[in-house]
């Protein structure tokens, strides 16, 4: 299969087929463009190109949008656009940290549970997932924040502790399915080391699930950060969209909507972009859908 020409349409590898499928998805491309745009904004903040003046206070209180202040200013004269842009980077940081750790944990535990299913290891790990899923999320975050006495990473830790279970369940189911396939049986028969088999041959076959889950966890993490920060359980130092919305609740009563609109719009566009992107790659990577595609 490896030696066959990759250009003929029927012999494309699964990844290439998926990419072709994705490129035809206009909404998915739009989502990808939005995500890339935000990524550029974040990289700019990292390099100090913009978003540096987010905490600077001026005499222009509650200004409307103007050329100097794109989204206007807030009650103490801070530029809302600068704050929103800086908060983008905060949101991405939370999203990336939570996604990386939660996916890694989910992959590892899910793969172990699936590989050793029908043994006590699977039982214990399933029990652990059940327990974590049984505690309402916001309460678990509150409990973790409580136990860590308001530590800055309490929110990240709590999100990681909660978000890995879905990934682990999916990976577990997939590994159980893969274990019954002929290539695994053959590898076992010729005496492969089980650890080697799991990490080199089974886990790489769950890549598509990991990519899909990563986008889903990323979206959840960013949305959750906003709510937790609003409730006072999340970001405490610096600024985030959640904190901007929390500030805005006072502004709204006085009739100033800039802060609220800016934070909500930035959040909404990023999340919808990511949702479109995520949907498109789910379609592109779903083997079941691809078969249907070929039949046509």
């Amino acid at each position: 299969m490896i030696n066959e020409p990759a250009h003929s349409r029927l012999n494309l590898s699964l990844w290439q087929q998926s990419r072709q499928h994705f490129m035809k998805d206009r909404w998915g491309i739009l989502g990808l463009l939005i995500v890339v745009l935000y990524l550029l904004v974040v990289i700019g903040v990292w390099f100090g190109l913009w978003g540096t003046e987010w905490s600077a206070i001026s005499d222009d209180f509650n200004q409307g949008p103007s050329l100097q202040h794109w989204f206007g200013t807030n009650a103490i004269g801070q530029d809302i656009a600068e704050r929103g842009i800086y908060a983008t980077q905060v949101a991405f940081e939370v999203g990336v940290v939570v996604t990386v750790f939660a996916i890694f944990l989910g992959l590892l535990i899910g793969a172990l549970a699936g590989f050793f299913n029908d043994t006590w290891i699977d039982g214990v790990l399933l029990w652990l997932m059940g327990v974590i899923d049984a505690i309402p999320f916001y309460l678990l975050v509150a409990a973790v924040a409580f136990a860590m006495q308001g530590h800055a990473w309490a929110m990240h830790l709590a999100m990681i502790a909660v978000f890995w279970t879905t990934t682990a369940r999916l990976i577990r189911a997939e590994v159980i399915k893969l274990k019954q396939l002929a290539f695994v049986e053959a590898a076992t028969a010729i005496g492969f080391n089980p650890v080697h088999l799991l990490f080199r041959h089974i886990i790489p076959n769950t890549n598509h699930l990991i990519i899909i889950q990563a986008t889903i966890v990323f979206i959840s993490a960013i949305k959750t950060e906003v709510i937790l920060s609003f409730l006072g359980l999340g970001i405490k130092e610096g600024i985030s969209w959640g904190l901007m919305i929390a500030e805005a609740t006072n502004d709204i009563q006085a009739g100033y909507f800039n802060n609220f609109l800016a934070a909500s719009l930035l959040l909404f566009i990023l999340v919808i972009g990511f949702n479109l992107f995520s949907d498109a790659i789910q379609d592109a990577l779903d083997p079941k859908l691809q078969k249907n595609h070929e039949k046509k």
Binding site: A134, F137, Y138, L139, A143, K223, I245, V271
Partner: protein, 325 residues
């Protein structure tokens, strides 16, 4: 195997899960939780006073002993006094739970029924414009933060910048004679209900559409169509009944989440004295007795719902119990 034995076995099977959730909430909230000794003491306490308080809080006891004390509190529903409000925790919750149910029930029911109807419309017109429109709106709905929906609803319906039709916040559903008044209830519940429906509609519609679309391709539906049954009968009788298992799962599983997560934001923003507001205030004030009660009780509630779901499945699909070992 009769149903009673099945139910009993499921209940016994739930014990490890109950053990797990109580252990985690105990470890986080009580064992690693903040030391409350000095919150309960006056200024300049004596060494004996400190030792006494530590003993009454159980700090001098080993881990498992304290865990059993916590389980005992959960079973007897006696969590002592709230640190902030000087009122028994149980009494606080007794007052708050009915409020939360009154607040969330209409939105929960409308949100689910509306989502099923929309998903049905989408599946009936698969690939055509009604399907595309409904699914586009559900992605948009999923992308708007809950927070923005709640604030937006309040702004549009309750503030002087919008329609100004309903009260901004509060929960005065009783009239002067302490009687429950439906009119006042409608007045206060409408805006939170709209917000709740909007919050859940996107997710629910997408989920139900996926479930229904899966079922609609099955042979029994084709057969029914070949027999010339009406669309009405095919979709609302045959299809819906066969998708009841995932629909029940979804609905039941979201109950504990809706109670806490939904009410947390809604109640704290609209100032409604339900479980969510109590939780929010306890989080902000670090009121440990209230928090450990809520965390423990909701986790236990969730496990019970889980067991209830398995028993319900059997009523709708007798095969489920039989195939399990």
């Amino acid at each position: 195997m009769n149903s009673w034995w099945f139910a009993c076995r499921k209940l016994i099977g739930g014990i490890p899960l109950l053990f797990g959730v109580t252990l985690i909430s105990f470890t986080l909230m009580v064992y690693f939780g903040p030391d409350l000794t000095y919150e309960l003491l006056g200024k300049n306490p004596t060494a004996t006073a400190i030792a006494e308080v530590r003993h009454s809080l159980g700090y001098d006891q080993p881990f498992w002993h304290r865990y059993l004390m916590y389980v005992q509190q959960l079973i007897t529903l006696d969590f002592g006094l709230s640190m902030v409000k000087d009122q028994p925790v149980t009494e606080l919750l007794q007052g708050a739970i009915p409020v939360s149910i009154q607040l969330l029930l209409p939105g929960f029911i409308i949100g689910n029924i509306l989502a099923i109807l929309l998903a049905m419309k989408a599946v009936q017109n698969r690939g055509k414009w009604p399907d595309k429109t409904i699914m586009t709106f559900s992605v948009i709905g999923m992308s708007v933060s809950f927070l923005v929906i709640i604030i937006g609803c309040q702004l549009i319906f309750s503030s002087s910048y919008g329609l100004d039709l309903f009260p901004v916040r509060g929960w005065q559903v009783h009239d002067k004679n302490e009687q429950f008044s439906w009119l006042a209830y409608l007045n206060y519940v409408t805006v939170p209900t709209i917000a709740l429906v909007l919050i859940s509609l996107g997710y629910n519609t997408r989920f139900y559409r996926a479930v229904l679309a899966d079922e609609v391709n099955k042979d029994h539906i084709n057969t029914a169509r070949a027999f010339g049954h009406s669309d009405q009968k095919i979709y609302y009788q045959l299809l819906l009944k066969n998708t009841m298992v995932p629909i029940i799962t979804r609905t039941l599983f979201s109950i504990p989440m809706v109670i806490i997560s939904g009410s947390l934001l809604l109640e704290s923003y609209f100032g409604i004295p339900g479980v969510g507001l109590i939780t929010y205030e306890a989080i902000i004030a670090g009121d440990q007795p209230v928090l450990k009660a809520i965390v423990g009780l909701t986790a236990v509630l969730f496990v019970l719902v889980l067991i209830g779901a398995e028993i319900l499945y059997r009523l709708f699909d007798p095969r489920m119990g039989a195939t399990q070992k």
